[in-house]
Symmetry: none
Subunit: 410 residues, 2 copies
C-alpha cells in the first residue's frame, strides 16, 4: 500500500461498516512491513483511539510482521496455537495442497488473544483487548477481510457499541462553483452544529455531504431534512439530487417517468454521452441510439447537418449543435435529441474557439435549446463536463413537466 499501484478499498469498506455501527473513523495510517514503524503506528493509534483495526501483514512470509509488532507493543508472548494450526492444515487439505513450513508462522498467537477463524484463507484474524483498547487484526485480501468482518467482528462490536448511529445524506449540484455553493449554504449549515457538512468539488458537480451522529434517529432525520430543504431553497434547480445519485441516473429516472426517449449525436465527447446514458441497466427503454460523427461528412450523412451551416458557421458552432440534436431526433424518432460539438483539445483550438469551447443542444419536435460553454482543464475533464452539461439540459427539460406521454416542450 506504499507503492503507487494499489488503490485502498479495505479502509472504505471498514469505514462504511464502522459508521453504520456508530463508530467514527478518526485516522487512517498506511505503514510498511518493518517491525519498528509498525509497532510505532499501533502505539500512536492507541494513544488517540479506543478501537484499532489493522488489515494485512498476517500472511506466512518474512515481511508479515503485524502479529509480532502488536505482541511486542502489548508485552504479550507469541505461542503456537494448536487450534489455529488445525484450521490451517484443514484449509490446505481442502485445497488438496501440502502445507508449507512457513505457514506455521500463521499459527502464532499472542497470549490472551481471541482467534477469528478465516474461512477464505489461511491467515486467522486476532482480537485483542488491553487497557481499555480493542485491537483487531484482519487479513489483507479484501474478500477475506470482508467475510471476517461481517461474521466475526461486526457481531462483537455491535454488542459493545453505544447506540450512536451515523446518518448521512448527499446532495449534488451542477453549474455552480465550490465557493459559490459554500457562500450560499454556509448560513444554513452553520446553524446546525451537530451536522458535519463537507463540500467536495468533482468534475462537473459539487457534492454536499451531510453527516450526523445520533442516538435519536427520528429527531436526526428531521434535522437533516430541515437542512436539506434549506439548501434546496438556497440553490434551487442547481441541486440535481438529494440522494447522492450520478447525473445519468437522475436523467434516466426523468426519461422513464415521462415515458420519453432520447438519442444522441456527439462530436468532441466521442461517445461519452451515449456511454453514460447506457451505464444504467434497462436503458434500452429510453435510449434509442447515438452517433459519434467525428468527420463533417458524417455529420451531414448521418444526421443531416446542412453542409452550408458547417461551412458558414464552422463544425464547432451553436448552429451545428442544434442541427445535430434536431437531426438525430428526426432520424430516430426520439422525444429528445441531444447534440454536442466542441474542441476537447489539447490541439485544435483557435483564438475564436479556444480549447474547451463546447456547444451543447437539445431539441424536441417543436423547439431547441443551446448552451455555449468554455471549460477549463484537460481533454478528459472537458469531455466529462460537456457530457454533464448535456445531461443537465435534459434534466432541466423535464423539471416542470407533468409526467405523461407525448409531453414535449423545451
Amino acid at each position: 500500500m506504499l507503492t503507487p499501484d494499489r488503490v485502498d478499498t479495505n479502509s472504505l469498506f471498514l469505514t462504511a461498516q464502522l459508521n453504520r455501527l456508530g463508530v467514527e473513523v478518526t485516522r487512517k495510517t498506511v505503514v510498511g512491513d518493518d517491525l519498528a514503524p509498525l509497532r510505532n503506528a499501533f502505539d500512536e493509534a492507541a494513544r488517540r483511539a479506543e478501537l484499532i483495526i489493522a488489515s494485512g501483514g498476517l500472511g506466512p512470509t518474512e515481511d508479515d510482521r503485524t502479529r509480532d509488532a502488536v505482541a511486542d507493543l502489548l508485552g504479550r508472548k507469541l505461542a503456537p496455537d494448536s487450534a489455529v494450526m488445525g484450521m490451517i492444515e484443514a484449509r490446505f487439505r481442502q485445497l488438496g495442497r501440502r502445507m508449507s513450513e512457513v505457514n506455521k508462522r500463521q499459527a502464532m498467537v499472542p497470549e490472551g488473544a481471541t482467534v477469528l477463524p478465516n474461512d477464505r484463507g489461511t491467515a486467522p484474524g486476532l482480537w485483542l483487548e488491553s487497557d481499555g483498547h480493542i485491537i483487531v487484526l484482519l487479513p489483507g485480501p479484501p474478500h477475506e477481510l470482508k467475510a471476517m468482518f461481517k461474521m466475526q467482528v461486526e457481531p462483537r462490536l455491535a454488542r459493545i457499541a453505544k447506540g450512536v448511529r451515523l446518518l448521512a445524506r448527499e446532495l449534488r449540484v451542477v453549474g455552480m462553483g465550490e465557493s459559490d455553493v459554500d457562500q450560499r449554504i454556509a448560513p444554513i449549515y452553520t446553524r446546525y452544529s451537530d451536522v458535519q457538512t463537507t463540500i467536495l468539488a468533482a468534475p462537473g458537480e459539487i457534492q454536499i455531504h451531510l453527516r450526523m451522529w445520533t442516538k435519536d434517529m427520528p429527531a436526526a432525520e428531521r434535522q437533516l431534512q430541515d437542512i436539506q430543504e434549506g439548501i434546496v431553497l438556497a440553490l434551487g434547480e442547481a441541486v440535481f439530487t438529494t440522494a447522492g445519485e450520478p447525473m445519468e441516473e437522475v436523467v434516466a429516472k426523468a426519461l422513464t417517468l415521462n415515458q420519453a426517449t432520447i438519442a444522441t449525436a456527439e462530436s468532441c465527447t466521442g461517445g461519452l454521452l451515449a456511454e453514460r446514458l447506457t451505464r444504467i441497466s434497462g436503458s434500452s427503454a429510453y435510449f434509442l441510439g447515438g452517433v459519434v460523427s467525428y468527420s463533417n461528412t458524417l455529420k451531414s450523412a448521418w444526421v443531416d447537418v446542412p453542409e452550408e451551416i458547417i461551412e458558414s458557421r464552422g463544425a464547432v458552432s451553436a448552429e451545428v449543435a442544434v442541427a445535430l440534436a434536431d437531426g438525430i431526433r428526426r432520424r430516430t424518432g426520439a422525444t429528445l435529441g441531444v447534440g454536442i460539438t466542441g474542441v476537447a483539445g489539447p490541439t485544435g483550438g483557435t483564438p475564436e474557439k479556444p480549447v474547451g469551447t463546447v456547444h451543447v443542444a437539445i431539441a424536441d419536435s417543436s423547439a431547441s435549446k443551446e448552451r455555449t460553454m468554455r471549460y477549463l482543464g484537460e481533454r478528459d475533464r472537458i469531455r466529462w463536463q460537456a457530457s454533464q452539461t448535456a445531461l443537465d439540459l435534459v434534466r432541466r427539460y423535464f423539471l416542470y413537466s407533468v409526467p405523461a406521454k407525448n409531453n414535449e416542450k423545451v
Copy 2:
C-alpha cells in the same frame, strides 16, 4: 477521506512521482479537518520523515484548516499575501465570476513560506522549510494537485534529491488470468532478487510492475530489459505494452503507423468503444465515427444489418456482430469496422445467451474475424471487457502488418 465515499488517488500519484525522484514513501496518514488532530499528524510526521507532503484542506471554507495547523506547529504567523490575492482575483475574472468573501482565506500565507501558484484553481500551494524538514501543502482536487506537483514541486525536489533512483517498468497482458501469468513468469522474475515484481489484476488486463532502486542506472536498465524480454518471450502476443500504456493508446499507435482508419458500431457497450478510441488527442486522424444502435431498427437503418439475420440468429449473435462491423466499414469507408453486440446485464440474459455473452467482430474490405466471449461480473465490468476485446482484435490485426497505405487483411 475519512468517509466511505472517496477513493484516494492523490497518494498513488505522489508516490509514483516521489519514487521516480528517489524518494521512498514510508507512511501515509489520513486525518480529519479538526485543528488539533491535523497539527498532531504533522507533528508526528515531522518526527520520522524529512519530507512531508499534504494534500487538501487549502480551500476557502471553514473546514479547510491545513494552513492554520502547519503555521501553528511551526510557530509562524499567518498574514494575507497580496500577490496570492491578485492570483485569486485574476482566476475569478478569467472565469467571469465574482470572488466570494471566503476566498480571501486562501490568500493567508504563513511567514517564510514559498507560494506555489495554482493555474487550475484558487488554492495556492505552499512550500515551507523548517529545522531540516520540508513541508509541502498541495490542493486536494487531483487535477490541481498533479499540475502543481509537476510544475512547482518536482523541479524543487529534483535539485535536492539524492543519487538513488527508482526504475520502474509496466507490462500489460490481455486474455490471460492472474495466476496463469504468474505461473509462467515466476521462474523469470524470481531470479532477479533486486527487482520487486508485482502482478495486479485489472478489468480486462493483467499488469506486471517491475521496480528497482538503484544508483547505477545503466546496469539497472539492462537488468530490467533482461527480465522484460524474458516475460515477453514467455507470454508472447498477450503482452500488449511494455510501457504501461492503456490498450486504446496501443491501438491508436497501430492505426497511425499503418495510416489506417476505423469506425465502430456498438450495441451493449453503448459508446464505450468509441469513447476509448477518442480519448486520445488527435484521434480524428484515424477515428471516422461510430454508431450506438441499441434498437434493432437502427442496426438495420444505420449499418445495414439484414433484418433476416436479426430474426434468425437474434440481435446478440456472431452474425450480427460481423454485420455491424462490415456495415459500419462500408458506410464510413474506414479501413476497419468494429462491431459489438451482447448482454451486459444485469437483466436480459437467457439460458442460451446468459448475461456476459458478447460477440465482437472486426472487418476489412476482404474478410472478418469474430470472437464470442462470456464475461463474468457486473454491467460496467462486462462492458469494459467487451471494449477491451474489441481493441485487442484491432491490435492483433496490425501485429504482423508492414506499415503501409491500403494494407488491408485480417
